[in-house]
Symmetry: C2
Subunit: 109 residues, 2 copies
DNA sequence: ACAATATTTCTATATTTATGGAAATATAGA
DNA sequence: TCTATATTTCCATAAATATAGAAATATTGT
């Protein structure tokens, strides 16, 4: 992943409503939740919610699919994993480092 | 960590110059780099760089200390770890989940 | 086709954020 | 103290982002 893609993902998450939406979907699991349920849970007006869902979709952090009359949104776990990998990549120039979980968590390449 | 703190950290990283600065510092390790060297490496004008360093500092993602005539900035690995933990917390409602590294990486509580 | 419900687009406005030159403020060596 | 170097603050401007009501656009059951 390059910096620009990472910035897109981070920007999507760097907003209170969107971060809450995303975390709600991460916790909801793979089936996801309908837009209406999300708005109801988080008390966000429909048009505002739609704006934020579009941002998250555009960044590729969430997926959507129509189910009967509802649109179900779900977290894209792979995109999230890629972002986490990017952020921890090359920690300490690849040297072993005892003070940080970042480095301990996986080999940096 | 609560949503607002996480948004502060994410906002700090959600900008191309700042993400590059942070990653440069993550890779530089604990000694860090002087402002001048950062600006030189990334070709960022001094006043712009100072603005971004302040943002990162304010969010707690980097630390600074004066060394002779230079100010050395270094990544705050702990802040980063906290953020990563927050983002992966409660994945799939705590249920085991085979498709995602997020869930596999550590127990979600 | 009609009515009810779900979601998005349009629009205007308010707010926040980024940029970089010029000036101000350290810091330290001579 | 004078001078050179390092970094920050001030400032004006430009650009991007967030908000939510009203209207438009699906979708489905009757």
């Amino acid at each position: 992943m390059e910096t620009k893609s990472a910035v897109l993902l981070l920007s999507s998450l760097a907003q209170e409503a969107r971060l809450e939406i995303f975390r709600l979907l991460v916790q909801a699991g793979h089936e996801g939740l309908s837009a209406g349920v999300i708005g109801e849970s988080l008390q966000i007006p429909a048009s505002t919610l739609s704006f934020h869902l579009k941002e998250l979709s555009h960044a590729g952090l969430i997926n959507s699919k129509q189910v009967t009359r509802f649109i179900y949104y779900s977290a894209n776990y792979d995109a999230m994993n890629d972002l986490l990998a990017f952020l921890t990549k090359n920690c300490c120039g690849g040297n072993p480092c005892t003070t940080s979980e970042i480095c301990k968590s996986k080999e940096s390449v």
